[in-house]
C-alpha cells in the first residue's frame, strides 16, 4: 500500500515536472477550446453552400470539445469584403473569414486582425499528425506563405481548394474541323501553332444556332488570362533576381504578340456581356475556346443543357511550348481572425477537420468542385462516380496529376489587384487598341513596378 502510494506520488511529481516542458514545446498545449462558439463568415452559395452546411453540421455534431461553429453567408460579390472591412473598423470580427486571395490576407495581417496559422499547423498537440501531414500537398498550401517582409513566409490563409485558369475547348468543333481537313492534329491544341490554326479555321463554321459564325477564341482580357499564355510560352512576369515585375522578357513579348496577331486576324474576339461572357458564349457553342475558372463547369454545362446542345468539351491548359505547360492557380483561403486563444484554437480545429476528415473532403470536393490539396481525397475522387459524371472536372484533374503542367501564381502583395488592372489594360492595348507590343508591355511593366515599389516602401516603413 505504502509502495503504491509512493509510486503514485512519483508519477504526480514527474507529471508536474514534465508539463512545463511540454508547454514550452507547444505554447498552445494549455489552451482549452471546450464549449467555444465561433463564427465563420463566407461567401458560399449554391452547391458550395450546401456542401459547407453539411460539413459544419458534421463538425458541430462530432467534435469532442463541444465547439459550435456558426456560419454567416454573405453571398458573392463585394458583400463579404465590405462586411469584413467594416468589421475591422468596428472590431466586431468573425473567427474565420474568407475565402480570400493571399494578397487580401496580407492586408488583414497588416491591419493586425488575423493570426498566422503556423503555430497551429506545427502544434504537437493540435496540429496535424504525421499521417495527416503526409496526405497534404504542402507544395500547394505553401503558396499562401508570402516570402516578402513582414510576412516572412508565414501561412496567412488555409486554402479551400485548388482552382485554376483553365481553357475550355469545344472538342465537337475540333472534330468537325478535323473531318473537313482544316486541322491536322488530334485532341485539343497543344502548341501555339495548333491553337492558331484551330481558332482561325473555326471562324468558317456556323454555330449551333444556325445563324452566326463561330468566333474562334473568346478573350476575357484579364491579367490571369495573359499570364497563362506568358507562362506557357516559357516567359515570366516577375524577376526574383531583380525583385521586380518584368513583362518585357522575350518569351512574354512573344506570347503577347501571339495574342495580338490572333485578335488582329479575326481569330479571337471580346464577347460583350460582362466578365463571364466568354464562357457563357462557349456554353452555346459560339466559340472554340474560352478561359475561366475550373470551378465554373456548372455555369457552362447548365446553359448548354438548357439549349439542348450536346457538345463534347474539356478543360485543359492554354497552348504551350515544350516544358512550359502552365496553369495560373488560385488558392483562395480562409484566415483566422484574432479572438481569444480559445476561440482561435477552436477555429483552427474546424479548419483542420475540413482539411483532413475524409467525408468532409469528399463532400467539399464534390459540392465545390475545387481540386483537393488532400492527396488521399484526390485519389479517392479519381476512382469515384463523381469523376465519371464530371468529365470536365476529371480532365482538369488529369492535367494537374499528369506531371507536365505546373501551377504558377503571380506575386501576391496587398496591391496585387492594381498590377492586375495594369496588365488587363496592357491586354486591351495590344488587342483592341493595336498598340505596339513592346511599348505597351514596357508601359505596363513600369506601372506595375511603381505599385510594387510603393508596396515595398510601405511595408519597410
Amino acid at each position: 500500500m505504502h509502495k503504491r502510494l509512493l509510486f503514485v506520488l512519483l508519477l504526480v511529481v514527474l507529471g508536474v515536472l514534465i508539463s512545463p516542458l511540454s508547454a514550452q514545446d507547444d505554447p498552445l498545449a494549455s489552451i482549452d477550446p471546450t464549449g467555444q462558439t465561433i463564427t465563420y463568415w463566407n461567401e458560399w452559395a449554391g452547391t458550395q453552400q450546401t456542401a459547407m452546411d453539411q460539413i459544419v453540421a458534421m463538425f458541430n455534431e462530432s467534435n469532442e470539445y463541444g465547439i459550435t461553429l456558426e456560419q454567416q453567408t454573405f453571398g458573392a460579390g463585394a458583400a463579404l469584403p465590405d462586411a469584413l472591412s467594416a468589421a475591422i473598423t468596428t472590431g466586431e470580427l468573425p473567427n474565420i473569414g474568407g475565402n480570400a486571395f493571399v494578397g487580401t490576407a496580407q492586408g488583414w495581417y497588416l491591419d493586425d486582425v488575423i493570426i498566422p496559422l503556423d503555430a497551429y499547423v506545427d502544434s504537437p498537440m493540435w496540429g496535424f499528425t504525421e499521417e495527416e501531414r503526409a496526405q497534404l500537398d504542402f507544395a500547394l498550401i505553401d503558396t499562401n506563405r508570402p516570402a516578402i517582409a513582414p510576412f516572412d513566409g508565414q501561412l496567412l490563409a488555409w486554402p479551400v481548394g485548388v482552382s485554376a485558369n483553365v481553357m475550355s475547348v469545344n472538342m465537337s468543333i475540333l472534330d468537325e474541323l478535323r473531318a473537313a481537313g482544316a486541322i491536322d492534329f488530334e485532341g485539343a491544341p497543344q502548341s501555339f501553332e495548333q491553337f492558331n490554326q484551330a481558332a482561325c479555321a473555326s471562324t468558317e463554321l456556323t454555330a449551333p444556332d444556325g445563324t452566326t459564325a463561330v468566333r474562334g477564341f473568346a478573350m476575357r482580357g484579364s491579367a490571369d488570362e495573359m499570364y497563362s499564355f506568358i507562362f506557357s510560352n516559357g516567359g515570366y512576369i516577375f524577376d526574383a533576381a531583380t525583385d521586380a515585375y518584368n513583362f518585357t522578357n522575350e518569351n512574354a513579348i512573344e506570347a503577347m504578340q501571339f495574342l495580338q496577331d490572333l485578335y488582329a486576324n479575326g481569330c479571337a474576339y471580346y464577347p460583350e456581356g460582362g466578365a463571364f461572357a466568354n464562357t457563357g458564349e462557349f456554353s452555346l457553342g459560339l466559340n472554340l475556346a474560352a478561359i475561366g475558372s475550373s470551378v465554373g463547369v456548372p455555369f457552362i454545362q447548365q446553359p448548354m443543357d438548357e439549349a439542348g446542345l450536346e457538345i463534347d468539351w474539356i478543360n485543359t491548359t492554354v497552348p504551350y511550348t515544350e516544358g512550359s505547360r502552365s496553369l495560373v492557380g488560385f488558392l483562395r483561403g480562409v484566415s483566422i481572425f484574432a479572438g481569444t486563444p480559445e476561440q482561435n484554437l477552436a477555429a483552427w480545429l474546424f479548419i483542420k477537420y475540413w482539411a483532413t476528415n475524409a467525408d468532409a473532403q469528399r463532400i467539399w470536393t464534390e459540392g465545390a468542385q475545387y481540386q483537393p490539396y488532400n492527396i488521399a481525397t484526390r485519389e479517392a475522387i479519381a476512382g469515384s462516380d463523381f469523376y465519371t459524371a464530371n468529365p470536365q472536372y476529371a480532365s482538369f484533374a488529369d492535367v494537374l496529376s499528369g506531371g507536365d503542367a505546373r501551377l504558377q501564381n503571380p506575386p501576391a502583395h496587398p496591391r496585387s489587384n492594381e498590377v492586375s488592372e495594369a496588365v488587363a489594360t496592357l491586354y486591351t492595348n495590344i488587342t483592341i487598341n493595336g498598340m505596339d507590343v513592346a511599348q505597351a508591355a514596357a508601359e505596363a511593366e513600369a506601372a506595375a513596378n511603381t505599385v510594387y515599389n510603393e508596396v515595398k516602401a510601405d511595408l519597410a516603413g
Binding site: E43, A45, A76, G77, A79, D82, A83, T89, Q302, M304
Partner: protein, 306 residues
C-alpha cells in the same frame, strides 16, 4: 317681347366633330410629346428588360435574346428559395415599418417647429440641417458606423445583450429616423399654412400640439405620403449600411438576397438575378401606386373657405 324660340344647338355644341374647326397641332407640341414618349420608353426599357430576362433560361440570356421563347415562371420560385426571400422580406417589412414610423414621429414635429415656432437660433439650426444634405452619404458612412458601434456597446453594457444595436433593429432604423430632407420638405409645407387657420385654432384654445395633430398633419397628407414613399424606398433598397451593421440573417434586408446571384470567379445567373430583382421591387411598386393617388388629391381642398 316676342318669345324667342330656343335656337337649335349649334353643331359645335352638339359635338359634331365633322363640323369642328381643326386646329393645326403646333410643331413644338409634337416635339415635346415625342421627347416625352422617347424619355418614357427609355425609362421603361430597363424594367422591360429585367422582366424579360427574369422569364428566360440562362442560355437565352447568354444568347442575347430580348424576349423568352417560353416564359420560365419557375425562375421566380428558384430565386425566392435560393435567396431565402421569405425571411429577408419579413425582415425588410419590419425594418421599413419601424424606420418609417420613427421618421414620421420625429420629422413631423421637427418640421413644424422650424416652420411655425419662433425660437432662438431657429434659422441657424435649420441652415445646419440643410447643410448636411450637401455631404455625400459615403463620407459619413464610417463615422456613422463608429458612432453606432460605440452606442451599441454602451447600450449593451446597460441593457445586456438585447440592448445591442449591432445585429439588431436599432442600428438599421434609428439612424434613419431623423432625415434632413424630410424635415425640409415638410417644413416648406407647414410654413405655407395660412395664419388664419392658426388664429382660428388659437381662438378655440388650440396649442401647437393640437394644431399640429388636428390641422397641420391632416392638411399635410400629401407631402407626408411623399416623404413616406421616399423613406419606404430608401429603407427597402438599403444594402450597404445593413452589410456593415448586420452579420446574420435575423435582420438582413431583402436587398441582401440579390448578392446570392453574383458569382465572383465562375459564372453568372442573370436570369435568376433579374427574377430576384423583380421580386424585390414589387412592394415598392405597390406602395408607389397607393401613394400616387394621394399626390393627385388637392392639397388645399377644403382647408380654407371663403
Amino acid at each position: 317681347m316676342a318669345d324667342v324660340l330656343p335656337s337649335a344647338p349649334s353643331a359645335f355644341a352638339r359635338g359634331d366633330a365633322s363640323q369642328k374647326v381643326r386646329q393645326p397641332i403646333p410643331v413644338s407640341k409634337i416635339a415635346t410629346y415625342a421627347t416625352l414618349i422617347i424619355g418614357g420608353l427609355l425609362a421603361l426599357l430597363p424594367f422591360v428588360w429585367m422582366l424579360s430576362w427574369s422569364l428566360m433560361t440562362n442560355s437565352e440570356v447568354i444568347a442575347g435574346r430580348f424576349l423568352p421563347a417560353e416564359p420560365q415562371w419557375q425562375n421566380y420560385l428558384t430565386a425566392w428559395n435560393t435567396a431565402q426571400f421569405s425571411r429577408l422580406m419579413w425582415n425588410s417589412v419590419r425594418i421599413t415599418a419601424i424606420t418609417v414610423t420613427g421618421l414620421l414621429l420625429f420629422c413631423i414635429p421637427a418640421a413644424y417647429a422650424f416652420a411655425r415656432i419662433r425660437f432662438w437660433g431657429r434659422n441657424v439650426i435649420f441652415a445646419l440641417f440643410l447643410a448636411t444634405l450637401m455631404i455625400p452619404d459615403i463620407v459619413t458612412l464610417i463615422p456613422n458606423l463608429l458612432s453606432v458601434v460605440w452606442i451599441s456597446r454602451l447600450s449593451e453594457s446597460i441593457f445586456g445583450e438585447s440592448g445591442a444595436w449591432l445585429n439588431n433593429w436599432p442600428s438599421l432604423t434609428i439612424p434613419f429616423m431623423a432625415s434632413a430632407f424630410t424635415i425640409f420638405l415638410l417644413r416648406q409645407f407647414f410654413a405655407q399654412i395660412p395664419e388664419d387657420l392658426w388664429d382660428a385654432a388659437r381662438i378655440d384654445g388650440a396649442t401647437h400640439f393640437t394644431f399640429l395633430r388636428f390641422v397641420a398633419v391632416p392638411l399635410a397628407r400629401a407631402p407626408i405620403m411623399t416623404t413616406l414613399t421616399f423613406a419606404f424606398i430608401g429603407s427597402w433598397n438599403s444594402l450597404v449600411w445593413p452589410l456593415l451593421v448586420v452579420s446574420n440573417d435575423d435582420w438582413r434586408p431583402i436587398a441582401f438576397g440579390l448578392t446570392k446571384f453574383v458569382q465572383t470567379d465562375a459564372g453568372d445567373e442573370f436570369h435568376l438575378q433579374m427574377a430576384a430583382s423583380v421580386i424585390m421591387i414589387i412592394p415598392i411598386l405597390i406602395v408607389y401606386f397607393i401613394t400616387q393617388k394621394q399626390f393627385t388629391e388637392g392639397i388645399w381642398t377644403g382647408s380654407v373657405k371663403g
